[in-house]
């Protein structure tokens, strides 16, 4: 099996330093909505200036380079064990080159490993064997500020008047945005999963964040919910950094999972404006990188 360590290193560099065009475009549009001279307009000015600088300097957009979350889809014949070794080696190299901050902390001793390598869940790597010719690797860097404001609700939720239906999902999602205020580095992107168990639900809410901001949910009911939540979350007026303003979320991406009759979880993963995600596609001898969820 070929050694992809250098290619994984390049995937990490691009993800940490180069914001995807769909996210940057949404930030440029959001900037136009804020009044000149306002703190919120100033926040967008700094955000966009920083995005351009990080790209040209090849330095991290945000110092919190988060948990590196890799999703590997490989054809039969690839060794998940070897791919894991190569990814971990690339993560340590990327840390030494200051594309990543050392973020892996032993929860009991408090000791930072210094190279971003912790147990098998740090970095997080999901493997799936697929029927395909190409190897596809998605990387998302999810920082702690936005991870901390994620929320999971068990419906029905009496205080919010949320029942086991899409209206209930709407209610808890708006509550999550309100609870987050500016703390998750608004304007954020919401990944929402309806159903599953607590674990699969949170995982699906993160996977939803891999969708491009400008795609359309193939499920018409979820597409309507996404559009409505973008509109209504922005009516909350929290604005960039929580300064107050017209854009509180850049997008909402929702999906559903089968659930137990007794359970109805809604998981909301909040992604900060610095929505760092990239895809690497290995086809034969060629490796390419893309910001779209194309095959």
């Amino acid at each position: 099996m070929r050694d992809l360590t250098d290619d994984f290193l390049e995937l990490i560099r691009r993800t940490s330093t180069d914001l995807p065009p769909d996210v940057e475009k949404a930030l440029v549009a959001a900037r136009q909505g804020e009044a000149p001279g306002s703190a919120s307009r100033g926040a967008f000015d700094s955000i966009l200036e920083n995005v351009a600088l990080a790209r040209s300097d090849s330095s991290p957009i945000c110092q919190d380079t988060g948990t590196p979350i890799f999703t590997v889809r490989h054809p039969a014949g690839w060794s998940a064990r070897e791919l894991r070794q190569q990814i971990r080696k690339a993560v340590a190299l990327a840390t030494a080159r200051a594309y990543l901050r050392p973020n892996a902390v032993d929860s009991l001793s408090g000791k930072n490993s210094g190279d971003n390598l912790g147990d098998n869940a740090f970095p997080t790597i999901h493997f799936e064997e697929v029927e395909a010719e190409t190897l596809t690797v998605d990387l998302m860097l999810k920082g702690g500020g936005c991870e901390n404001v994620g929320a999971q609700y068990s419906l029905p939720h009496a205080a919010l008047g949320a029942g086991r239906d899409l209206e209930g999902v709407r209610r808890v999602a708006l509550d999550a945005v309100h609870q987050a205020q500016g703390q998750g580095c608004a304007p954020g992107v919401l990944g929402i999963a309806v159903g599953g168990d607590r674990g699969s639900s949170y995982l699906a809410s993160k996977e939803a964040l891999l969708r491009p901001l400008d795609d359309l949910n193939p499920d018409p009911a979820l597409a309507d919910l996404e559009a409505r939540l973008v509109r209504e979350a922005n009516e909350l007026g929290i604005g960039p950094m929580g300064f107050g303003g017209r854009t509180t979320v850049l997008g909402v991406k929702a999906g559903s999972l089968h659930r137990l009759p007794a359970s109805f979880f809604v998981s909301v993963s909040y992604m900060c404006w610095a929505h760092r995600r990239r895809r690497m596609i290995v086809a034969g001898d060629t490796v390419r990188y893309t910001d779209r969820s194309e095959a």
């Binding site: 920083n50 330095s59 973020n103 500016g182 909350l236």
Partner: protein, 206 residues
């Protein structure tokens, strides 16, 4: 834009109002979760005995914290192997995690400015009024932009806490921030929270 040179006088702090954009110059100290817990437990509440170089570290830090600024930041730092440190990315971290400690740190060390993101709670706001002190909001995620205002890394204390959690002593020129909690009891965060609560109630009533 209000130019502020560290350390800050009481009157300079009192002159600041919520919404003022500021540009900071001078020496500040980074400190976040582990640093705040360490300062409070070891030197203020004294529930933990000083260990290793704790006393030397705090004696070096005291003059910088007095009238100075503490920056909630866990930077990306280059030059770790040669100790020729350089800040590569250095945006603010979420401040609310320091709410259980901040008031005591402000009072004990005479800190005049807390820099972070997301704002802080009622106890810190009350202490800002009493001290006086201010909360300055840096732009979360603008890490490369902010790192460019760090002209020198003057030193580091408690590096064994890890790079993000260590107390880095840095010199800045033109560090940008906005006053969001002032010494007059005003908090932009409390205002936005209340306004968005009203908007949420309206949306949930429909």
């Amino acid at each position: 834009m209000i130019e502020l040179t560290l350390p800050l006088s009481e009157s300079a702090v009192r002159d600041l109002k919520v919404g003022d954009p500021v540009s900071l110059h001078g020496v500040m100290v980074t400190g976040r979760d582990t640093a705040h817990k360490w300062m409070v437990e070891t030197f203020i509440r004294k529930t933990r005995a000083p260990q290793g170089d704790d006393l030397a570290a705090i004696e070096a830090l005291r003059p910088l914290l007095s009238g100075g600024a503490i920056y909630h930041c866990g930077p990306v730092v280059a030059g770790l192997d040669t100790k020729a440190y350089r800040f590569v990315a250095a945006g603010p971290t979420t401040s609310t995690r320091e709410e259980p400690y901040q008031a005591e740190v402000l009072q004990h060390f005479g800190v005049r400015a807390v820099i972070g993101k997301g704002g802080m709670g009622a106890r810190t706001l009350a202490t800002c009024q009493a001290a006086p002190a201010v909360y300055l909001h840096a732009i979360g995620g603008a890490a490369t932009l902010i790192a460019q205002t760090v002209t020198r890394v003057l030193g580091v204390h408690k590096l064994e806490f890890g790079v993000p959690e260590a107390l880095w002593v840095i010199e800045v020129r033109g560090f940008p921030a906005v006053v969001t909690m002032d010494a007059h009891g005003q908090s932009l965060h409390a205002q936005v929270e209340a306004q968005s609560r009203t908007a949420l109630d309206r949306l949930l009533a429909s």
